[in-house]
Symmetry: C2
Subunit: 401 residues, 2 copies
């Protein structure tokens, strides 16, 4: 046995890793119990891909649900295979989820699931439509953030968890956290909202619209019915390029690339070769890499879900949205995040304070822009750990004390 | 005669308009006197479209040259036709140029010319190549900002003006002003640089690269040889859409559009119809309108010229670039301009101060972002008028005094 282990020479996962993980799958909303979507259409069965890390307490009171952002998936922490482990290719929030980390898997049972409309194992436009036996494509129903949350809430219930310790997420994930707190006030003790907003700004809609136009313009888009062919790869890559710029701060992109040239001694004066500057090469690479893992229709559906989101409009006001909530809220924004500026977090925080809710808020300094919540996990850890510990303490305190 | 006038019922041009104007044309650098470009290729003859407003003084010392931005042209003020006048379709900087305005045509002789590489009358990739009798397309030589300035400097000389009172411009126009001051120190008494920079930021290059990719992705681009067909209209429109977002501040786009819906009562849940939100409709309109007046190859060449621009690299340092300059400098930046942030103006201003030059600088407050210099002309007028008057005064003062 020991010889075998040595021969396989598995790299050490490190003391703070959840190690090897596997993505699981649940089938929910099977007919005749289809989910009624926000737009009144019914959808089911719905497959949900999810992962869990840590151990559910006997009281089932230590579960934390993680909502991923636009292009994330269920694989938030650890390694899916030995190959991934060898290549140190960990889940998208591995720095924040693990033993002793921000979401401490020694203490908490962490769940992350792919969003409805996505393309990483949860039902979406690239899934097979049961009626036709073909991918849904543009016939997939339009989804909204409440639909994404409904599916995840059902998943959590199917895992035997009536109340979550916390729901945590950034960006589009943060919108889901807000919707969780509004829609299921009795089902979460805390809400952690990072770099997010209660409704997309006009500028945010504008950038999303540009990305969608890039996909629509692609001659291989074929009105969304492209699954027999390569699909709108160039258009999706372009959508990713423009979005990626908005995820970085002006300062970080300047520091990282400046005017450094890629693989050339000097400007080549070649208009067609779009990689003269490193920043061009980097964006091209980000675009190309993205199309290998993401579906263009999912990009359309999920960016539309973002654009449609308007918490105050849905509930009359932000105060109304959280009228029944007893959750403890933690909001974090970043001073260099120009896509989801601090003002947007403040709007929700102000409403919660006015409504007499428990709410903590901090604007953190960072040079890294919107993506900071994915990258600078140390400062998040310092906030999240005591906040979650205190929440669990309050939760477990006898009602009389 | 009077009856005729009444019948024609020409609208009053107003007391501060230059009135009806006509675009003129000069042919420069005719062989064997071709212009040697920055990349060592030779180009000629070069046609230059230009307009002038006001009257050149007998001393020929009151001429101001206006450098336009990326998509501008020679038509900076007044009306090109009675139809334009009736429709109030004035030149792009009509608010700033005219009798009693910022560039006061009662006092100054204002010249504006289309840039080399453009598509509004000056030689560019859509012009006919004399050797082939076909449009240049991608065979047009790569141009840089010094080339644009060389052509304009020759135009000014051909108009009999040895020294300009001032060169004025914003954005890409501001880069040209910097280059004028560096390249022709003896030929301008003042330089007015608005919302500009001494080199493109990595973020600026990134957005330009996205725009160019949109054009390259268009199936009608045909490697730039599209003049017999409709050309990459969708790609060029998309490039304009993304650029347009960067010209506006987050605040102004939010105030103007917010989440207002276009022509619909409520969200139509129609992914393909990209005009549910007014901001989408607005961007689509801006894109469509742009392709009717602009050439995609010009967009490629001119954004590349912007990206290549690096004053410090060209001259060793910014101080060096202006070592021989005796010009009086005026820099204006805007606090909501995130594409050309104040820091970039300050870098040049600091270098000029260190070099003991005469330099004034102000960051103006505006909610309108980068485009402010085109829109909020009142505050510019209040700065430019005394600055130019004083410059003329200094210029006309006997050397002994």
């Amino acid at each position: 046995m020991s010889t075998e282990l040595i021969e396989e020479s598995i790299p050490d996962v490190g003391p703070r890793s959840v190690g090897l993980v596997s993505t699981q799958s649940a089938i929910l909303f099977a007919p005749p119990h289809e989910l009624t979507l926000a737009n009144s259409r019914r959808l089911g069965p719905i497959t949900v891909a999810y992962e869990t890390y840590g151990t559910l307490s006997p009281q089932r009171d230590n579960a934390i649900f993680v909502c991923h952002a636009l292009t994330g998936d269920a694989h938030a922490a650890g390694y899916r295979s030995k190959e991934d482990l060898a290549a140190r290719k960990a889940g998208w929030w591995d720095g924040f989820i693990g033993p002793g980390k921000g979401l401490d898997t020694d203490k908490y049972f962490v769940i992350c699931a792919n969003a409805l409309g996505g393309c990483q194992g949860t039902t979406g436009p690239s899934s097979i439509c049961p009626e036709t036996g073909e991918p849904w494509g543009p016939d997939f129903p339009v989804i909204q953030i409440p639909d994404i949350v409904d599916v995840h809430a059902e998943l959590v219930r199917s895992l035997g968890i009536e109340r979550l310790l916390a729901v945590v997420g950034g960006s589009l994930g943060g919108m889901q956290v807000l919707e969780w707190a509004a829609r299921y006030p009795e089902r979460l003790a805390a809400a952690v909202v990072l770099a997010s907003c209660p409704r997309m700004s006009a500028q945010g809609i504008a950038f999303n619209a540009v990305g969608r136009s890039a996909i629509f313009n692609d001659p291989n888009f074929n009105d969304g019915r492209y699954y027999r062919d390569s699909g709108p790869r160039a258009g999706l890559a372009l959508a990713r390029m423009v979005a990626h710029i908005t995820y970085l701060s002006e300062e970080s992109i300047e520091r990282k690339f400046g005017r450094k040239l890629q693989d050339v001694e000097a400007l080549a004066y070649d208009l067609i070769k779009e990689t003269e500057f490193q920043v061009e090469s980097y964006l091209n690479y980000q675009g190309r890499r993205f199309v290998d893992r993401f579906d263009a229709n999912s990009y359309l559906y999920l960016t539309k879900a973002m654009d449609y989101y308007d918490l105050a409009q849905s509930y009359g006001s932000i105060e109304n949205a959280f009228a029944a909530s007893q959750a403890r809220f933690l909001f974090v924004s970043y001073d260099s995040d120009w896509l989801y500026p601090t003002r947007q977090s403040k709007e929700v925080v102000g409403a919660l304070i006015s409504a007499g809710k428990h709410v903590s808020f901090i604007e953190l300094h960072s040079a890294k822009g919107h993506d900071t919540f994915l990258i600078e996990v140390e400062q998040l850890e310092a906030l999240a750990r005591p906040f979650l510990e205190r929440t669990l303490e309050v939760l477990r305190r006898p009602a009389a004390s």
